[in-house]
Chain length 377, copies 2
């Protein structure tokens, strides 16, 4: 490794996946250096910074990644909160570890929403099989049973359409502490990405409309079609309440349900988020750059959209760059990961000056490897 010039600040990142990689790609132009902690020697962020190969709770690995860092951040909400806590005394760890503690347990997340008066689906905590029956009676069916901890991309979840499926759902969560959430007959799924700086300034990007399949985000449209000022304001108010309550610094993603013009909080991610990838080309400042500006105490950049954008994930397979780039206005992001079923290996963003143009360009991506429904299975 070459000797970095004096004054080239180092950012330590817990986790070395594509979010870490994109953080570095946003930060390298700003003169930053990056060091990642990841259990895999093939972590994709290793191409854009130093890579410390160790478990995310390994004390020596944690000490090594944070050594000399201006700030420590994380790119995965599954980073052990204790690991973040351990570093907190030595370096600024941002977002604050409390954000990990809250979001790693769906019960804490729901409690946070209750305290702040933010609407969510009706829910009950479920600790045993009997509790599940009671919860089903309380919130009604259909509902979704989710483990309190450890679920992501649709894992650790079971849909319960009726009482006959309770037993099967219980076996799917393997008896772990869970939460039963009433099914929300939402109009659509949205998310709001927001950022808070060290001085308490907050900013939100336009709300995004998300499309999931098999529990995995397939694509996003930004700004969300037919986004009213009222809905934007509602989404921003939700994000801002959480940011301020947690004395949060960095980017936060809030997944939302829209139901009859009202927003319900679905779940939180205390990090840059897949539904914010469109901001790289579609916003004045990307989520990645603003996350770094926030945690380093630099002024935030504008979160205004500069185009109509669509983001499409490449899952399980990688399209050839020449296929993607043959469609006008596409921006291809290949994470340089070995494709496996259900694995996000890249994304494509299309920018357009009108939503009609966006739709017509988006249609031309149809059928590319990784963008089809089958890729999720």
């Amino acid at each position: 490794m070459r000797v970095p010039p004096p004054g080239s600040p180092l950012v330590a990142v817990l986790g070395g996946g594509q979010l870490g990689r994109m953080l570095a790609l946003a930060g390298l132009p700003l003169g930053l250096r990056f060091r990642f902690l990841d259990p895999s020697p093939e972590a994709t962020a290793g191409a854009v910074g130093e890579l410390v190969v160790a478990a995310l709770d390994d004390p020596a690995g944690l000490a090594q990644v944070a050594e000399g860092a201006r700030a420590v951040t994380y790119e995965w909400e599954g980073v052990p909160a204790e690991a973040a806590r351990r570093l907190e005394g030595r370096r600024p760890v941002l977002p604050p570890p409390i954000a990990l503690e809250v979001t790693q347990d769906r019960a804490h997340e729901k409690e946070l929403c209750r305290v702040l008066g933010l609407p969510t689906a009706a829910f009950r905590l479920v600790d045993d099989r009997q509790g599940l029956d009671q919860a089903a009676a309380d919130v009604g069916l259909p509902a979704v049973l989710k483990t309190r901890r450890g679920g992501y991309d649709g894992k650790g979840q079971a849909v319960v359409p009726d009482r006959d499926h309770l037993e099967r759902a219980w076996s799917e969560v393997e008896g772990r502490p869970a939460i039963l959430e009433a099914h929300v007959p939402f109009t659509r799924e949205l998310s709001v990405l927001a950022v808070r700086s060290r001085d308490g300034t907050t900013a939100s990007w336009p709300l995004v409309e998300n499309h999931h399949s098999g529990g995995i985000l397939r694509g996003s449209i930004a700004p969300a079609p037919a986004l009213s000022a009222e809905l934007q304001q509602q989404g921003e108010a939700i994000a801002t309440a959480i940011l301020e309550h947690l004395d949060y610094v960095g980017v936060l993603a809030v997944e939302l349900f829209e139901l009859e013009g009202e927003l319900l909080v679905n779940e939180l991610a205390p990090r840059v988020h897949n539904s914010g990838h469109w901001t790289i080309e579609g916003a004045e400042t990307s989520q990645f750059e603003n996350h770094l500006r926030a945690i380093l105490g630099w002024p935030l950049g504008s979160t205004a959209a500069v185009a109509h954008s669509a983001m499409v994930n490449c899952i399980g397979a990688r399209p050839a760059p020449e296929q993607v780039l043959a469609v006008p206005n596409t921006h291809f992001h290949d994470y340089a990961k070995v494709p496996r079923p259900g694995r996000k290996v890249g994304h494509i963003t299309i920018t357009a000056s009108t939503s009609e143009e966006l739709d017509s360009l988006l249609a031309r991506l149809q059928g590319l490897p990784g963008t089809t429904e089958e890729a999720v299975a």
Copy 2:
């Protein structure tokens, strides 16, 4: 170094300065890997790829950098043409080495323009002191005496305002083969960046207005203010003629003088160029991405401007990121180089929706370290 996933194409770059660094920052999202050849172990591109430390004409270094590369390119017009030729039999070397041979000698460059009927300043070749007198008589004074080879950023040049300065100018070029160019009383300096793909498709970005001081580019406005369709067409025609004549692949920069609505060719750079940095944020596709798309045989992206942009170089000193980013719509590019007088260590791009907004934002950068006139000295 981690094992790259299968199918992650490698691009070899001769030279490892900021242009190489920005090529990699554009190519990493496309899933590319980079390997650089540079004599300095501190070459700034080393942060974003493998670095082979050797002279640019070192046979072992050349073999090593090109090993397994999908394509070989260069980021400096001073790369020895023989080095590029040596690799040509083994790998695609693009732009073709002929472009280095032509642009490394001002006499060849002028001859190319003559063959293509492209207007330039009046000039004479100067091989000795007597030849200089004759050249001055032929092209008239004021004029500029330039070494035929090896000059950049104003080095190897001497202004000759009148006959009394001939002796001094001659001593400044140290008796090397030179060229005397008539002074062009230009209205302004412009440049055109153009790209040609492997299949012969060409595209040009909007012409840029450039501001030099002490022979170094200080800043650019893009598109050039009051750019008429005629002027754009004239600039594109010049670039396209050169691209096609050389069977060129990649990005070419042509520096131009505007004189009474006509364009004269000043000089060529067979590479991505400082006056094209604005394209990172200001154009649909950046010069860096399109250079890579061209040399890899991928479809080119749109060269349309998406904003009014101004690019300001940071020379000899680095402003603090928080100072730069406090100005709205700024995009900071810190090359992570140790500042030295006259050395380009970064640039700032401002994007705006109107030229008035651009001017007012630009005024707010005044006085930042590296952006002042003194920094050039």
